[in-house]
């Protein structure tokens, strides 16, 4: 069950994994995610489905190594199996022919943006992807995204590759250049999404964000992932994870993401990988 068939590093701490999950591969749509557990004593973590291969019965996940669970997952190898995997979860991205769609992916969020870019292109949109990273070495999926879109813009914070600057500046310049933009998809770190929404707000450009709150079951039974959208409490796992970015309370999301900082640190300090002692 849920055997890892391919594993590789896209950058120093970003891993791409192909996992056997035939039912998920068949059903999944852009914007949806899975919840997985590395082993019996593991926690449940959500990861976006980046791609799927129905014939091979596999899905592709991309994740950044940030704590104990992602470290353990990254230490698994081809041929190993996950303890459990559930999906596809969440609402699929609402895909239509909007006209011109700008799709911004930041950092590991580029992996989340990729299926959206692909689906938007297939739906006949003119898609302008903007992908950004701190520096050239940690930029991911550039070739894959270039192969499905002509107008890719790449930016790095330090100017080591592509445009020098933040994706927010790139989007602002694009708007200033007179490009008619019908919709923006913003996917990446919370501050990035927040600032992208501030760029588009004065122009009234509809901006969809993909939120990443803490989740447990991810089926709507606990409310760990609750976010405030337009003043109303929503559960990101079942009502999202995509929402109208102009209505999202990003401050609350950022606060709630800090809930377990101490425990996450403890877990990492206590970390002895299961391959050795379990």
């Amino acid at each position: 069950m849920n055997k890892i068939t391919e594993k590789g590093y896209l950058s120093e701490n970003v891993v791409r994994m192909v996992i056997e999950a035939p039912d998920v591969a068949e059903k999944r749509k852009a914007g949806q995610f899975v919840v997985l557990m590395v082993d019996e004593k593991g926690e449940r973590i959500p990861l976006t489905i980046v791609d799927s291969d129905v014939e091979k019965g596999t899905i592709t996940l991309i994740f950044q190594v940030v704590g104990k669970t992602t470290t353990c997952l990254a230490e698994m190898n081809e041929g190993d199996s996950l303890f459990t995997l559930l999906g596809p979860l969440g609402h699929p991205t609402e895909i239509a022919n909007f006209g011109t769609a700008v799709c911004v992916g930041g950092g590991v969020g580029i992996g989340v943006a990729y299926p959206v870019i692909k689906a938007l292109a297939e739906a006949g949109n003119k898609v302008i992807p903007i992908i950004g990273a701190r520096t050239k070495d940690i930029l991911i999926l550039e070739d894959e995204i270039r192969s499905i879109s002509e107008e890719l813009i790449v930016a790095t914070d330090d100017g080591s590759y592509g445009v020098h600057g933040f994706v927010t500046n790139v989007l602002q310049n694009l708007i200033d250049s007179g490009e008619k933009i019908d919709i923006v998809f913003a996917i990446g770190p919370v501050p990035m999404m927040k600032f992208l929404c501030e760029v588009t707000r004065p122009y009234g450009i509809k901006t969809i964000v993909s939120l990443n709150p803490i989740m447990v079951d991810a089926t709507g039974m606990c409310g760990a992932c609750r976010v405030s959208v337009g003043g109303k409490t929503k559960f990101a796992c079942v009502d999202g994870p995509e929402f109208d970015g102009h209505k999202v309370d990003f401050g609350l999301l950022m606060t709630r993401l800090q809930t377990y900082n101490n425990q996450e640190q403890t877990a990492m300090e206590n970390y002895r990988c299961r391959h050795n002692d379990r």
Binding site: K41, E43, R44, K68, G87, V216, M221, R256, T266
Partner: protein, 430 residues
Amino acid sequence: MDKKGKRKKIRPYRVPVTERAPAERVQDFREVPLGYTVSQARDEAGRCLNCKNRPCKGGCPVGIDCGGFVAKVHEGDFLGAVKLVKEKNLLPAVTGRVCPQVEQCEGPCVIGKKGTSVGIGNLERFVADWEREHGVVLPDKAPPTGMSVGIVGSGPSGLTVAADMIQFGHSVTIYEGLHEPGGVLVYGIPEFRLPKSIVAEQIASLTQLGVEIEMNQIIGKTLTVDDLLQIHDAVFIGVGAGAPIFMGIPGENLIGVYSANEFLTRSNLMRAYKFPEWDTPMRFGKKIAVIGGGNVAMDAARTALRLGATDVSVIYRRSREEMPSRDEEIRHGEEEGLQFDFLKADQSREVDTVIVAIGQRPNPTIASTTPGLEVDNRGYLMVDKETMATTREGVYAGGDIVGWGASVIRAMGDGRKAARAMHDYLTLRS
């Protein structure tokens, strides 16, 4: 009257069950009551008057012959008692522990009018635990009918339907959304009330009978009810009412505010109380307020004590008499040091953690993805009260998803009714 025709002397008071001392038990998650010993059980069973009309049986939602099995316990025929209980209930180790017996089998007990009713729940638990120590008794199955049933959800109602349908000779597959079967028995009710190993054993007895369980299947997402109707001849929906209700008051999304579902799921299903040996974290302080008065509130409050909170208050808008929680849990909670604040609806106090346990509502996933499945204005599935048939042919439902209040045994009673009707539907149709 006994054999010699003398009037049997009534012993009005119950043989007490040994319980672990409060100061010791709040240090861990192990079970609180230790259960009857053989001699205690026989002694308690001897209090039963063996009434002819057996009002106790009428009080049991799944119709266990309570007086009958109690008589067998008194005689020392424990195997006979097991068999009699399991004619009606394949999960006695669970129901003996979590049923609100006071309102059910023990309620109409004649001795209860003079003193304390016969401890039927404790005796059922004794019988079930005796079976667990001496080897599980599996019931007979009818010959295979060639028909198959899909069951959505592995909580109490789904497990009951599975047990009945497999005995009728149908093939049975349960679809469960989480990674461990049992529904509320594993994510909701804590270890100190219902050890997870017991739930696992009771479910294993079903799989030994041939019930299949598919984990990680969210019906409505990974498969739809229509998909299940392609695979099976009938479908039972027992998904519970798992979506937490929040109060909608300011500050409800602050760090440290949990739904009881999240708090208990982290602790029970994910074993966050064993962090960092287990990976799922929890965050709680010393001063905790639990809002609500049901079993879920009591479970959350008593869990908080065991996690090291020093000051846990249960805040309930009505009076103690109106608390829907089992009396035994309230007593246990009081002994363990819970504080109660009744008739409080609007107040302020300083706390570092709040657990909201004011109820659950149905998750709309199934209804919204199944054409022809009607729900009432609160989102509960509409069913025929006698057959538990939904508005969709071949689809039945029971337990919390039909919205008649939350209890394990009611869910099992619904499952029993649904299984009977589904069996009729399948056999009359063929």
